[in-house]
Symmetry: C2
Subunit: 151 residues, 2 copies
Amino acid sequence: MARRYFEDFFEGLTVDLGNVEFTAEGIIEFACAYDPQPMHTNPDAARDSIYGGLIASGWHTAGAYMRLLVDSVIGQSDSLGSPGIDSLRWLKPVRPGDTLRGSFTVLEAKGSRSRPDRGIVRSRGEMLNQDNEVVMQLEAVNFFGRRPASA
Amino acid sequence: MARRYFEDFFEGLTVDLGNVEFTAEGIIEFACAYDPQPMHTNPDAARDSIYGGLIASGWHTAGAYMRLLVDSVIGQSDSLGSPGIDSLRWLKPVRPGDTLRGSFTVLEAKGSRSRPDRGIVRSRGEMLNQDNEVVMQLEAVNFFGRRPASA
């Protein structure tokens, strides 16, 4: 895959990031480390909760999106990091056995005024489940280096 | 610790969430699973990067904040989940050996119009390093159940 520079991130670009499956073991492992609430760590307690069963930590879903994004986009780019996320919404529970598909869409791309070697890309990221329901949506900001004259 | 209900989250409430230490091993382990960029996974490549050494994934710092928040606040509350995060900013790199302190401040607390059994709490979360620099800041929304008449 060709290396992506700022110039390659035009408004409207959409990239299918592929799939990731969530398992009970993976949900529990993440949650024990980073979000040890019973609906994420204890199947019996989760069954009796308002969720009716084990669900993934929202931060786990965010991390899974990031992994897909690095594998498909950022890892093959001249990435210069991210200042942050403008909005992150958890819209539906993610359960064991769910397969989530990631999607990345460029909302805006503009050159940096203060740093002429880079540009700023605002994007919408989504994770959709096997029923095509959007389970998570975020708006992110990323910096990418401009294509050098030689590339 | 007494169980926290919506009524206990008043505007201006601040909770010190305690500390967490970041190690090179922990940074690499998280990043290999969720954010496998070289500045997070490969000390040699990280040294030659714009960061001058290994730094933690921003999602790792967010997860570490969530862990502190669950241990100190959410785990002892009548939490009814979160619709999402309104803003998340990574302000300084987090490096191996850094000890981060979490802080939680209530920005706004209001009853739910549609669900009288609960309230909506907007909060600012911060992670500060040992030099008292804010390395991450977020604004979150959480739902908490109202205190029952019997409690």
